[in-house]
Each structure stands twice: as C-alpha cells, then as structure tokens.
Symmetry: C2
Amino acid sequence: MKVGQAMVSAGASILHEGGRAAHLFTVLRGWAFRYKTLPDGRRQILNILLPGDLVGLQAEIATPVPHSVEALTEVELCAFGEDALWTLYRDHPELALDVTWLSANEERIVDEALVSTGRRTALERVAALLVYLYKRASVAGLVQSGTAPLPLTQSHLADTLGLSLVHTNRTLQRLRKGGFIRLEEGRLAIGDLTTLSRVAAYWEAVPSNRPLL
Amino acid sequence: MKVGQAMVSAGASILHEGGRAAHLFTVLRGWAFRYKTLPDGRRQILNILLPGDLVGLQAEIATPVPHSVEALTEVELCAFGEDALWTLYRDHPELALDVTWLSANEERIVDEALVSTGRRTALERVAALLVYLYKRASVAGLVQSGTAPLPLTQSHLADTLGLSLVHTNRTLQRLRKGGFIRLEEGRLAIGDLTTLSRVAAYWEAVPSNRPLL
DNA sequence: CGCCCGTTTGAAACAAATCAAGTCTCGTGG
DNA sequence: CCACGAGACTTGATTTGTTTCAAACGGGCG
C-alpha cells in the first residue's frame, strides 16, 4: 500500500486547510500538530501527532480538507496511495478495523480536549495537557530518565489550550513553583503523575491496545 | 446485523461513562447528546446526536466507556450485535468504509466544537452552535417553514458551549434582539444563515455525502 | 553586533462567572 | 379548584479569571 516516504522539516506544512487533494500518511518519526484557523487568524490546535498517528484520514473523506497539519520537529512520514484506503478495506478487514480504531481513538482525544477548553480552569487545563503529552511520549518510548521531549513553544501550548500566551506562561510558572513540573531544555519532567492528574481533574485511562499498522 | 430496536424516553441514559460492556447503536429517530463529566460534576456536552449517527463506536474499542449519552427527546435506536462490527468489516468492506466515514465525520464535528470553545467569543460560539444545529436539523429533514426543532434547554446549550447558563442566556438574547434569530415553542428560526455564520466566524462546508447505513 | 524568537513581567481593561432573586409555566396533589 | 413545587428562563449586582497592551530579557544566529 505504501507508495513512498516523505521527510519534512520542523515548521513545514504537511496538510493545508481548504486544500483539495491530499494524501493519507502515518507519522513514522517526529512530532506534528493538527489545527484550524478562524478567518481573522485565531488558531486552535486540535491535537498533537506522534509516531503511529494517521494524518489525513479526514481529508480522504471530505473536501475541502477540514484542517491543517504542521511539523513541530523534523518528521518522517509514510505515504499511502490514492485508493489505498479502499484496497485496504477490501483485502484486509482486520487492518480496516485498526484504522477505525485509530479514528475513534483520535476522537476520544479531541473529546478530552473539548472538556478541557470547555470546562476546566486554566490551571487544570495546563496540567491535563502536560499529563497527556507526557503519557503519549511515554507510550511512544520517548521518555528518558523521567523526562519527556516537549518540542512545543508556549505559543503552541496556548493555542492548544485555548488560552492567551501570557496566561499560559503564568499558569506554567504556577505549576513549576508548586513543584509539580520541571521544564528545561525542551524537556518536561513531572514530579508525580497522580498528583498532577488530580490537579487536572483528569481521570482518563491510558490509551489501551493501539494497533501497529 | 441488527439484533433489535430500542426506544428510550426523553432524559433517559443510553450509555454511561465508565461502564463496561456497551452495544453499538444508530439513532433512527429523535435527539440525544454525548457528554463527559469531571469529578466535581462539571459537564461538557461533546456533540448532539441525530438520526443517522452512530452511538457507542468508541465504546466498542475502549473500555471503560469514555463518555455518556443521554436522550433529549424520545429516541428510537437500532441495536447491533456483539461482533457486528467485525462481521461487517469482513463481509461488507464498502459499509465498513461508511463506518469510518461516520467516525471521521464525527471527529470533524468535535474539532469544530473545540475551535469554538477554544477560540471563539461567547457571541460567536452561540451563533456557530445555532448555525450548526440548524444545518443538521435541515439535512435530517426536520426544518419546516424555516424553523428547526430545538429540544435543548439553555442549560444544555451552556454545557455544549462551555459557558455558564447565565451568560448563555444573555448572549442568546443579544442574538434575538439583534434580529438574528427567533426562538419560540422549542423551535429555532434563523433570519439569515449567511449573516449568522459571519457573526460566528464560521466557515464550515456542509457535511457532504453522508452514507445511509 | 544586532536581530529575531521565545519567554517573562507589570498594569489596565474586559469578558465571563458567580451570587442572588424573581418570573412564568406546567404538572401534581390537597 | 387552587395552592404548591419543580424546572426553565430572566434580571441585576458584584467578583474574578483571563485577555490585552506594553515592554523587557535572554539566547542563538547570520
């Protein structure tokens, strides 16, 4: 099914909202993010993409493409062909089920983000996001000696959280001064996951059995 | 695949967050909503469900069930069997693709809600939600003489929008006094969809070719 | 060296939440 | 038949969380 491999550098655009055709990808390496913008430029980041995530499934089924995707680090992508999805569904139902699993799982993640922006206070939101990112980095095998890479600027965090940059900064400091987290050299360390989860009013189970694809 | 039909009355619970087993349904008639709650009771409504929507796909792939579903009106459901999903994927790849379409489409909807709660002002949010609900009612064939049914209380709207009840009420009034909408007897009339969409900073294409299922 | 980007800080302005009542409708029971 | 209570909606006053504005700091890089 694979038709090619692509390499994009940090900051580059992978998918553009409003565009027409679009490939289906999976992330093999690196970090990216999905986002939408309003007419006047306000940006909302919808989710962070890590290795194993699908890119462009929504674009396959809807034109124009409903959201943009941008690389946070250098990203390695695996590209699928035009009608790869249909071929897959016809010939490999068990893999098709995996695709659905991934899709439903992504929705679960956005659901949780919606709960954050809708009902959590700034402190809870930031805490929840950091817990989430730490866990994701962890299952991706990126946690080393208790720290996870965090290739997002505070501006990215703000646009993920639906907060202003300034307030995100202040809230982050509250968490640091409270001893809940450490942030240095682009890496995140969490004092105690359970404690921080409680701060976040967060009670999400770990994403269970992700298919390999 | 169908194993039964269920009828639930307004206000009844269809799916409960944290539960174990759960059936897969589709809505045949009526309105329902998907939501999550925080430990202290704050509620965020994730999406409104209308005829044609799947219920419990996420529950099929994740235990415990990640969200609750409650009926807004009397709801008629079509229930599928235990391993209906797998059977479907194995024997009817084209229908499997439809399921994926529905799943990806639902995510698109939640994405848009996330943009609202994250980046839109209260006025924009309310306008966007009303436009969205009107359009959905419209494609479901529920619009009559320019008015759509709106079986949600202001409390539901508030929990969908991530706003307080009081502020939702005041914002609704602004839209009414501005002549953008009319609200009477549980039905919604929109003066001009394009105008209201502009108020909402909303530029979403209509959900295109929904499969029948 | 000077510039750009990301981060930090302070002060002022504002949007939205909260608190507290009050109205209206509708269904229920005395 | 009417008093009662519950639920939905409305209103005003006040407080607070968050944004906006403005500026400064530090590091990396050409």
